[in-house]
Symmetry: C2
Subunit: 141 residues, 2 copies
């Protein structure tokens, strides 16, 4: 009997995620982009060009909000909007190299911040977290 399966307490995990998020967020570069902006850029990097409405639905914001976000991203050079050859109505949003660079910089800064936190953590704890990481990624795909 390989141990009573440890039940995962959702409330506890929720609190832990909230706390972690707060801590990690403060390790962000100054003048950082918004949550939605970052999430959208990451999605564009991961999945390639997407339509506005797709993005809005995926990010859980309204279509006008995504239109405005795309305009800001374009203004800041982080994304481009192009038209779809097969449908004149749609706007395809694509991350630019500057956008990729920004994401890379963010990752570097946060990695350093987290690395500092990890120095106070035991190797066992770090290994446990590393082992759970793929599962966490599957939890919020």
């Amino acid at each position: 009997m390989p141990a009573a399966k440890t039940a995962l307490d959702p409330a506890r995990l929720t609190t832990a995620v909230e706390r972690l998020f707060s801590v990690l967020r403060h390790g962000n570069p100054p003048n950082d982009i918004s949550l939605t902006a970052a999430s959208t850029l990451r999605r564009l990097e991961r999945e390639g060009p997407r339509r506005l409405t797709d993005l809005a639905a995926a990010e859980g914001v309204t279509q006008p909000a995504m239109t405005q976000l795309a305009q800001r991203l374009e203004r800041d050079g982080l994304a481009e909007r192009t038209t779809d050859a097969t449908d004149g109505r749609v706007v395809l949003v694509r991350v630019t190299q500057a956008g990729r660079d920004l994401l890379a910089r963010r990752r570097t800064v946060r990695a350093e911040h987290l690395a500092a936190l990890l120095r106070d953590l035991s190797a066992e704890d770090e290994a446990l977290i590393a082992a759970a990481l793929p599962a966490l990624e599957r939890l919020a795909p």
Copy 2:
């Protein structure tokens, strides 16, 4: 071979936490309080009454912003401002019972939302996350 110890990729963990947080956040009730407001309330609940400048520094916002936030929290009955007996300049902010109740409601909602996500996760993944939970809590104390 018990596996080369998997190094924990800080960028991946940060991204996973951000995504999880986003998912949990979208399960929030409408008219939810701001990120900073929630984080501040949680801090007050966890650490007891704090002064304004402390809170501003801890939350990474400016002092005028924290003054405004405290006023909103007070207006909404979620926190109180009291004076410090030993220093007449100081304002101590304290969470009220209504504030605690709000936090509790938020946690309930999020926990339910998370529980729904967990139903789509394999038992193995859930066990991995459960095993890592104490480590995560130590990471963001």
